[in-house]
C-alpha cells in the first residue's frame, strides 16, 4: 500500500494514458475504413461462352419506382411537380400526385408502375413555390418575432398537397384587431396561395374576406379552427429544422457518439477511481500525521520524520548554558541584587 501511495501519480498517469488510448482507438475504429481481409486464393476463371450475356437480376420494386419518379420530379424545377401523397411509404399501392399544367404527364404515366394506383390532381402552384412561401412566412412572421423575443401570432405553416395551398395557423388568443391586421398583410402578399387557420367565427371571416378583396380565390378556411391542435401538430412535423428533425439528424450519427461517450464514461470512471485512491491515501497520511490537541497545536506520530518526531528531535537537540556561563550569570545576579 505504501508503494502504491508513493507511485500514485505514476499510477494515475498510466490509467489516464490507457483511457486516452482506448478512446482514440475506439473512435478511430468507429470512423475509420473497414479493414481489408487477406485475399483468398482464387480458382482459374472459366472462359465465357460465345454470345453469353449476364442475366439482369435486380428489378426495382413498385414502391422504389414511385419514389424514384417523385424524387426526379422534385429535383427538376421545371417538371411541374406540386407534391405527392402515398398510402404507404414502404409498400405503396395508391398515390396522389399533384401536377401543374407544365408537367409532362405522358412521360410520367409511361414510367409509372402498373400495380400502383395513381390519382393526378391539377395544381396551380408548384411544390417549390409553396415551399418558398412557407420559408418566407416562417422567416418573416415566425422566426423574426422569435428572435426579437416577441410572440408572433403566426404560430405555424404547412403545405396542403391535395388543395395546393399553404395553411397559416394564427394564434387564436391574440386580439381580433391584430389577427385582422396580420391576415390582411398575408393575403395582400400571397393571395390565394395561402389559407388561414384561425379561431375567428365563420361570420367574422366572411366579413374580413369582404373587407379585403372581392375575390373568391382568397379563401379563408375556418374549418381548421375546430381542430387547431391537430393542425399545429402537423405544422411541427412539416417545419424544417424543428426539434424532431434535429434529433433525427443527430441519431443518424449515434454510432460514433456512442463509442465516444462510452470511452468518456470509462475515462471519467478511471479518473474518479484514481482520484478517490489518491484522496484516501492523503487522508490516511494526514490521519497518521496530525492530531490537533486541545490548545490548538498539532502533534503527529507514525511515519518517520513526522511532525511530532521532528519536534521531539528539535527539542532533544537544544543546548544548555555551560557551567562556567551559569556561574557567570549567577555572579551577575548577586551583583545586581546586592544593592537591594
Amino acid at each position: 500500500m505504501k508503494a502504491l501511495y508513493k507511485y500514485r501519480f505514476v499510477l494515475f498517469g498510466v490509467i489516464a494514458l490507457f483511457a486516452m488510448l482506448w478512446i482514440t482507438c475506439g473512435t478511430s475504429q468507429a470512423r475509420g475504413p473497414v479493414p481489408t481481409a487477406t485475399p483468398m486464393p482464387t480458382a482459374t476463371p472459366t472462359p465465357t461462352p460465345e454470345g453469353w450475356k449476364p442475366e439482369e437480376t435486380y428489378q426495382p420494386t413498385s414502391t422504389e419506382k414511385v419514389r424514384q419518379i417523385w424524387q426526379s420530379l422534385y429535383a427538376d424545377y421545371e417538371s411541374g411537380y406540386a407534391g405527392h401523397e402515398l398510402d404507404n411509404w414502404m409498400d405503396t399501392k395508391e398515390a396522389i400526385l399533384a401536377l401543374t399544367k407544365d408537367a409532362d404527364r405522358e412521360a410520367i404515366l409511361k414510367e409509372w408502375p402498373k400495380d400502383v394506383k395513381l390519382q393526378i390532381i391539377d395544381a396551380k402552384y408548384t411544390f417549390r413555390e409553396l415551399e418558398a412561401v412557407v420559408f418566407e412566412i416562417d422567416t418573416t412572421w415566425y422566426y423574426a418575432f422569435e428572435r426579437k423575443g416577441e410572440e408572433s401570432i403566426v404560430i405555424g405553416t404547412g403545405i396542403n398537397v391535395r388543395e395546393n395551398y399553404v395553411t397559416v395557423c394564427i394564434d387564436r388568443t391574440a386580439p381580433t384587431r391584430v389577427q385582422k391586421k396580420v391576415i390582411s398583410d398575408l393575403f395582400e402578399r400571397y393571395g390565394d396561395c395561402i389559407r388561414i387557420d384561425s379561431s375567428m367565427s365563420a361570420e367574422e371571416l366572411r366579413e374580413l374576406e369582404s373587407e379585403l378583396v372581392a375575390d373568391d380565390s382568397y379563401l379563408i378556411d375556418s374549418i381548421f379552427s375546430d381542430s387547431s391542435k391537430a393542425i399545429n401538430k402537423n405544422y411541427y412535423d412539416y417545419k424544417p429544422n424543428d426539434s424532431l428533425l434535429t434529433f433525427t439528424a443527430y441519431t443518424n450519427n449515434r454510432g460514433a457518439y456512442k463509442v465516444m461517450s462510452r470511452g468518456a464514461v470509462i475515462a471519467l470512471a478511471a479518473g474518479l477511481a484514481a482520484a478517490i485512491l489518491v484522496f484516501a491515501f492523503v487522508l490516511r497520511r494526514q490521519a497518521m500525521q496530525v492530531r490537533v490537541t486541545a490548545d490548538g497545536r498539532e502533534v503527529a506520530g507514525g511515519e518517520p520524520y513526522s511532525d511530532a518526531e521532528l519536534e521531539r528531535l528539535a527539542r532533544a537537540a537544544q543546548e544548555d548554558v555551560s557551567e562556567e556561563g551559569r556561574n557567570r550569570i549567577f555572579a551577575a545576579y548577586e551583583r545586581e541584587t546586592r544593592g537591594n
Binding site: Y305, L310, A314, A316, A317, Q318, V321, G325, A332, Y333
Partner: protein, 177 residues
Amino acid sequence: MPADQNQLTQWLHEMKQSREAFAALYAEMSRPMYTVACRILHNRADAEDAVQEAFMKLLRRERTDDIENGRAYLLQTVRNEALMMARKRSHEELQEDVQGTDENDRPDNFAWENEMMIAEAIEHLKPEERDIVTLHVNGDLTFEEIAKIMDMSLPAVYRKYRKALDRLRKMMRGGSL
C-alpha cells in the same frame, strides 16, 4: 515538562527578592533561551552573554508586575538581545563563528545522529522559520505568542512553521543538508 505559566510568572515577579525564585526561573528558562540565542548567534559564548544580558535587563526593570507572560517575555528579550549582538558583528566574523561552531563548539551530548542532523538542518532554515521553530518547539510558545513577539500575523506564523517542518523533513529524509 515545562513549568506552569502562572508559576513561572510568579518566579519572575519574585526573582529580585528571592534567589530561589531566580534559580528556579533560570533552571526552567536557561535552555530554551540559550537555544534561541545560539541559533541566532551561532556562538556559544555570545549566546551565554545574550542570556545573561536578558536576565540582567529583567532585574534592572523597576517593575515586573506588568509582565503577564513570563516565558514569552524572557524569550522575546533574549531574541532581541541576540539579534542586536548579531547586527554588531560583521558578516565575516559571523561566517567564522559558524565554521567554528561546526568544528569545535558542538556539545558532546549530540550523540544521536538524528539530533545532530536536525540541529544542522535547523541551521539551514531561513532566519524567520528558524526562530519560529525554536520559539515553538524549544520555548513552548503558542503560535499566537510567537506572532506577537515577531510582529507577524497568526496565519503567517503557522504557514512558516509548516513550511519549516516540511523543509526539515526533506532535509532529514535526504540524509544531507
